[in-house]
C-alpha cells in the first residue's frame, strides 16, 4: 500500500510519458490478446484430439483456396505490370493500379463486418488513457494493418514495382517510391472509410441499409458477365463494364491511380513526374486528414449513437409492456377461450415473441430474399437446363442460410434465456415454438424457391423429381432440426441481432461449427449422388425410395429428441449460464 500514495512515481506530465512505451504497450496488448484467444479453454482428452483433427482438416481444406486467392492478384499484378512496360502498353498501368485499389477497398470494407464479429479489441477504448492525439492517431493507423486486404494489396503493389523494374531498370526506383506512397494512400483511404463507417454503423438502421447494400453489390457482381462478351471476340461489343471503364479512364488520370501511373511513366520528364507525385501525395494527405478529423472527435469523447433520441427506450418499454400483454401474460393467465386454440398457451406466447423478433430484423428478411435473387441469376446459366438438378439445387441454396440458424436457436435470447429456465413451463414447449417459427420460415423459403424454379424452368419438372425433392426436403429439415436442437442446447452462443460486435466462440463452439457444416452441407448435397445414380440406372423413383425412409427416420429422431429435450436442457444449464447469461 505504500506505493499507492497519490501522485507517486508517475511521470510529471503527460508529455513525459515516452511514446515508445505506450506504442509498445499496445503492441504487447494485441499480442497477448491474440495468444490468449488461441489457447483459451482447451478441451481435454478425446475432445481435444477430435478438435485438433477437425482444425487440421479445416485448414487443409481452406488454406489452399486462400493461398490461391492471395497468390493470384499478387502474381497477376507483377506479370501485368511487366507486360505493360515490356510490351509497350504503358497506359495499362492505370487500370492495373485502379484495379488493385478497388479490390483492396472492397475486401477491406467487406472485412469490416467480419473483423467486428471476431475482434476482441476495440481500439477506440484506448482514448481513456493519457495519450496525446498524435499517438492516438498513430496507434489507430497501425492497429489492424495486418489484415488480408492490406497484406495482399501491399504485396500486389510490390509485385507491380518488381514487374516494372524487370521490364525497365530505370523505372525500378521511381516505381518503388511511387507505389510505396500509393500503398500509404490506400491504407489511409481504408482507415478513413473505416472510421466513418464506424460512426455510421453505430446506427442500427444504417447497419441494416449497409447489409442490404453489400448484398446487392455481391449480387451485382453476377451481372459483370465477362463470358457473354469476351474482350477478344471479334465483332462483339464490349460488356457494359468494359465500356464504363473505358469511358471513365479520362477521369482516372485525375485520381490517385492516374497520379501513380503517370509519376512512374513520366520519370524521364522530372517536372511532370514530380507534379504527378505531388498529386499523389496531396490525395494521401487529404485522406489522412479526413481520417484524423474523425478520430479527433472520437478522441475528445464522442458518443457514436448520439443521433438517437433517448426517448427510444421509453418507446421500447411501452412496446415491451404491450408485448408482455400480448404474449406471456395473456397466454398464461387468460381464461380458456371458447373453441380449441391452435397451440398450447406457452407455445403460442413463445411463437408470438419469435414473430415479433423476426418482424424487427430486417437483415433476416433480406437474408431470405437474397437467395431467391441468386436463383433467378442461376437460371440464366446452363444450370437451368437440367430441371432434375435445378429444383433441388435451388432449394438447397435457398435453405442453406436459414438451416444454419437452427443450430443456435437460443443465441439471440441472451440473458433472457433465464426466463425460460425460471418459469414454470416445459422447456420442450419453448423449443417447439422456436422450431415452429423456423419451420414456417423454411417452408416459406422453399415454397418461394420452388415457385421461382417452376416459373423459370425451361423444361417441365418430372413428377418423380418433384416427389423426390419433397421427401429430400423433409429429410433435410427434420435432420437439421434434430441435430440443430441438440447443438443449440449443448453449445449455445450469444448473439445480438443488429449488433456488429459479437462474442467470439470458444474452441468447442468452433469445432462444433465444423460439425454443423458437415451435417448441414452433407444433408444438402446428398441429393446430388442420388440424382446421378437415378440417371445412371434410369430409375426415376430412386430418390423417393431413398429419401422416404430417411425422412421418416429423421422425423422419428426429432420426435425422440423432443421427448428428451427437457432433461437435455436441464443437464446443460451451466452451459447456458456460461455462454448466454454472461454480461
Amino acid at each position: 500500500m505504500a506505493e499507492l500514495a497519490a501522485g507517486m512515481n508517475v511521470p510529471a506530465n503527460a508529455r513525459d510519458i515516452p511514446a515508445r512505451t505506450q506504442l509498445l504497450a499496445v503492441a504487447w496488448l494485441r499480442w497477448r490478446i491474440f495468444v490468449n484467444s488461441m489457447f483459451r479453454r482447451r478441451p481435454t482428452g478425446t475432445r481435444q484430439a477430435l478438435g485438433l483433427a477437425f482444425a487440421i482438416l479445416l485448414r487443409l481444406i481452406v488454406w489452399p483456396f486462400l493461398a490461391l486467392t492471395v497468390v493470384g492478384p499478387i502474381v497477376g499484378s507483377g506479370f501485368f505490370a511487366w507486360m505493360a512496360i515490356a510490351e509497350k502498353h504503358p497506359q495499362g498501368l492505370l487500370p492495373l493500379f485502379a484495379g488493385i485499389a478497388l479490390l483492396w477497398q472492397f475486401v477491406a470494407i467487406n472485412g469490416l463486418s467480419v473483423a467486428a464479429t471476431v475482434s476482441n479489441f476495440d481500439p477506440s477504448s484506448l482514448a481513456r488513457f493519457p495519450l496525446r492525439f498524435g499517438r492516438y492517431l498513430v496507434l489507430r493507423t497501425l492497429i489492424g494493418l495486418l489484415t488480408p486486404s492490406t497484406i495482399v494489396g501491399c504485396l500486389a503493389l510490390l509485385a507491380a514495382a518488381v514487374g516494372i523494374g524487370l521490364a525497365s531498370l530505370k523505372l525500378a526506383l521511381p516505381a518503388l517510391v511511387v507505389l510505396a506512397v500509393y500503398a500509404l494512400m490506400n491504407i489511409f483511404f481504408t482507415r478513413m472509410i473505416g472510421a466513418w463507417m464506424e460512426r455510421w454503423l453505430a446506427n442500427r438502421r444504417f447497419r441494416e441499409i449497409f447489409g442490404v447494400l453489400m448484398a446487392l453489390i455481391a449480387i451485382g457482381f453476377q451481372f459483370l458477365n465477362f463470358q457473354r462478351a469476351p474482350v477478344h471476340a471479334p465483332g462483339t461489343a464490349n460488356s457494359w463494364l468494359l465500356n464504363f471503364l473505358h469511358g471513365s479512364s479520362p477521369y482516372l488520370h485525375w485520381l490517385p491511380p492516374g497520379f501513380a501511373a503517370h509519376a512512374i511513366l513520366r520519370a524521364a520528364h522530372p517536372v511532370e513526374a514530380l507534379a504527378q507525385f505531388v498529386g499523389l501525395l496531396a490525395s494521401t494527405a487529404l485522406f489522412a486528414a479526413i481520417f484524423a478529423i474523425r478520430l479527433h472527435k472520437q478522441f475528445l469523447g464522442e458518443h457514436l449513437s448520439e443521433g438517437v433520441s433517448r426517448r427510444a427506450p421509453a418507446r421500447s418499454v411501452a412496446r415491451g409492456r404491450a408485448l408482455a400483454k400480448e404474449t406471456g401474460a395473456i397466454a398464461m393467465a387468460a381464461p380458456a377461450q371458447p373453441g380449441r386454440p391452435a397451440f398450447p398457451p406457452i407455445v403460442a406466447a413463445c411463437l408470438r415473441k419469435e414473430w415479433l423478433n423476426l418482424r424487427g430484423n430486417v437483415s433476416q428478411l433480406v437474408g431470405m430474399l437474397t437467395p431467391l435473387i441468386f436463383i433467378v441469376i442461376l437460371n440464366r446459366a446452363v444450370f437451368a437446363r437440367h430441371s432434375t438438378y435445378f429444383l433441388p439445387g435451388a432449394i438447397a441454396y435457398a435453405l442453406m442460410g436459414i438451416l444454419a440458424g437452427l443450430y443456435n436457436v437460443f443465441g439471440a435470447d441472451g440473458l433472457g434465456v433465464q426466463v425460460y429456465l425460471l418459469a414454470p413451463i416445459r422447456l420442450r414447449d419453448v423449443i417447439v415454438a422456436k422450431n415452429l417459427m423456423s419451420l414456417a420460415m423454411i417452408v416459406t423459403e422453399a415454397a418461394l424457391a420452388w415457385a421461382v424454379v417452376t416459373v423459370l424452368a425451361r423444361s417441365p419438372i418430372p413428377l418423380s423429381t418433384q416427389i423426390s425433392t419433397v421427401l429430400w426436403t423433409v429429410f433435410v429439415i427434420a435432420a437439421n432440426l434434430a441435430v440443430g436442437t441438440v447443438r443449440s442446447i449443448q453449445a449455445p452462443r450469444k448473439f445480438v441481432p443488429g449488433q456488429a460486435q459479437q462474442r467470439r466462440g470458444t474452441p468447442t463452439n468452433r469445432t462444433s461449427g465444423l460439425l454443423i457444416m458437415l451435417v448441414l452441407l452433407g444433408s444438402l448435397v446428398l441429393q446430388v449422388p442420388v440424382t446421378i445414380l437415378s440417371r445412371t440406372f434410369q430409375e426415376q423413383w430412386l430418390g423417393a425410395w431413398i429419401f422416404g425412409p430417411l425422412a421418416a427416420a429423421a422425423i422419428l429422431a426429432y420426435a425422440v429428441l423432443l421427448r428428451n429435450a427437457e432433461q437435455l436442457i436441464l443437464a446443460h444449464r451451466d452451459v447456458f449460464a456460461e455462454e448466454l447469461c454472461k454480461v
Binding site: L4, Q22, N120, R128, H303
Partner: protein
C-alpha cells in the same frame, strides 16, 4: 483560495433532442470524499463520462485540478483514475497482463509496474487468479480488478461509478479502507452509488442530480440542515433543528428526488394497483 479538484461550469450534454445533463455547476475540493447521487437515469454516468474525458459536453466547461479538459485532456487523464460503469476491461487478458498494460500506458517504468501489479493483486485478493482470463472472472472480481487498474498510477482524483456493486462484504471493506487511505494522503474520490448507507458512511460531501439538473450540493451537515439545495441557502428554519441531526441521507434523498417537476410530492400508488400481489 485553493484550486478545486473538479470544477464544472454550466455543464450540459444533449443526445439528440434529449438533455441528459443540464447546466451542472459542480465544485469538489481536493481531498474530499464526494458522493454523487441521483435516481436511475438522472445523468450520473453521463456526468462522470464527461468529467473523465470519455464524452464531450455539448456546452459548458470542465476543469480538473485546474486543467481545462478541452485544452489538455491527456494531462487530465494522467492525473485521474476511473472505474467506469462498464469497467472497460480487456477480457482476453489475464489480471496480471491487464495491470501491466495499464501501468505502461500511464508511463510507469517496468519495475514499478511489476511491483504495483503484484501488490494490487494481493491487496485485491486476486493473486491466485492472476493467470485466469478476465472474461472468466466473476462480476465482483472484475470490479476489484478495474479498481486496481484505476489506482495503479497513483491518481490524484479517482472517479468510481458504482464501485461496490457486486462486490462481497469482505472485499467492500478492503476497498473502503483503500479509498480512505487515499483520501488521507490528499487524493480526491468522486463516487456514485445507489447504496446510500455507504455514501453516508464514506463521503463528506454530496451532490444530488435529478432529471439532469443538480438539485443539491454540499456537506452532509448542510444537507441535513436543509441547505445546499438549488436556489436555497442553508438555514436553521429550513428544517427542524432537533430532527436535523438524525435525518439519514436516504430521508434527504427521498425528500429531494421524490417530487415531481413542480416540486409536489410524488403520488403514492393507489391501493388497488398491483392488488394481486400477495
Amino acid at each position: 483560495m485553493t484550486t478545486p479538484a473538479i470544477d464544472t461550469t454550466a455543464l450540459t450534454r444533449r443526445f439528440g433532442d434529449f438533455t441528459a445533463v443540464q447546466n451542472v455547476n459542480l465544485r469538489v475540493d481536493g481531498g474530499q470524499f464526494f458522493g454523487f447521487l441521483g435516481p436511475n437515469g438522472a445523468g450520473k454516468s453521463t456526468t462522470i463520462r464527461m468529467l473523465t474525458g470519455l464524452l464531450a459536453p455539448s456546452s459548458g466547461s470542465i476543469r480538473i485540478l485546474g486543467e481545462d479538459m478541452k485544452d489538455n485532456p491527456a494531462e487530465i487523464k494522467r492525473q485521474i483514475g476511473v472505474v467506469p460503469e462498464g469497467m472497460a476491461l480487456f477480457g482476453r487478458l489475464t489480471a496480471d497482463e491487464y495491470l501491466r498494460f495499464v501501468g505502461q500506458m500511464y508511463g510507469l517504468d517496468r519495475a514499478t509496474t511489476l511491483q504495483r501489479t503484484k501488490e494490487l493483486l494481493e491487496f485485491m485478493q486476486l493473486a491466485d487468479e492472476q493467470k485466469k482470463l478476465i472474461t472468466d472472472f466473476s462480476h465482483g472480481m472484475q470490479k476489484k480488478l478495474a479498481l486496481a487498474a484505476a489506482v495503479i498510477h497513483g491518481p490524484k482524483v479517482l472517479f468510481l461509478d458504482e464501485p461496490f456493486e457486486g462486490v462481497d462484504a469482505v472485499a467492500a471493506g478492503t476497498l473502503k479502507a483503500m479509498l480512505q487511505r487515499m483520501i488521507a494522503r490528499g487524493a480526491t474520490v468522486f463516487l456514485t452509488s445507489h447504496v446510500l448507507e455507504i455514501v453516508e458512511r464514506l463521503c463528506t460531501h454530496v451532490a444530488i442530480i435529478h432529471r439532469g439538473q443538480l438539485v443539491a450540493q454540499g456537506s452532509l451537515e448542510e444537507l441535513r440542515a436543509g441547505g445546499g439545495r438549488a436556489g436555497q441557502k442553508a438555514s436553521a428554519e429550513a428544517a427542524e433543528p432537533a430532527n436535523a441531526k438524525h435525518r439519514s441521507l436516504e430521508d434527504i434523498f427521498l425528500e429531494i428526488v421524490g417530487t415531481d417537476r413542480e416540486g409536489n410530492p410524488a403520488a403514492t400508488p393507489p391501493e388497488q394497483e398491483l392488488s394481486w400481489l400477495s
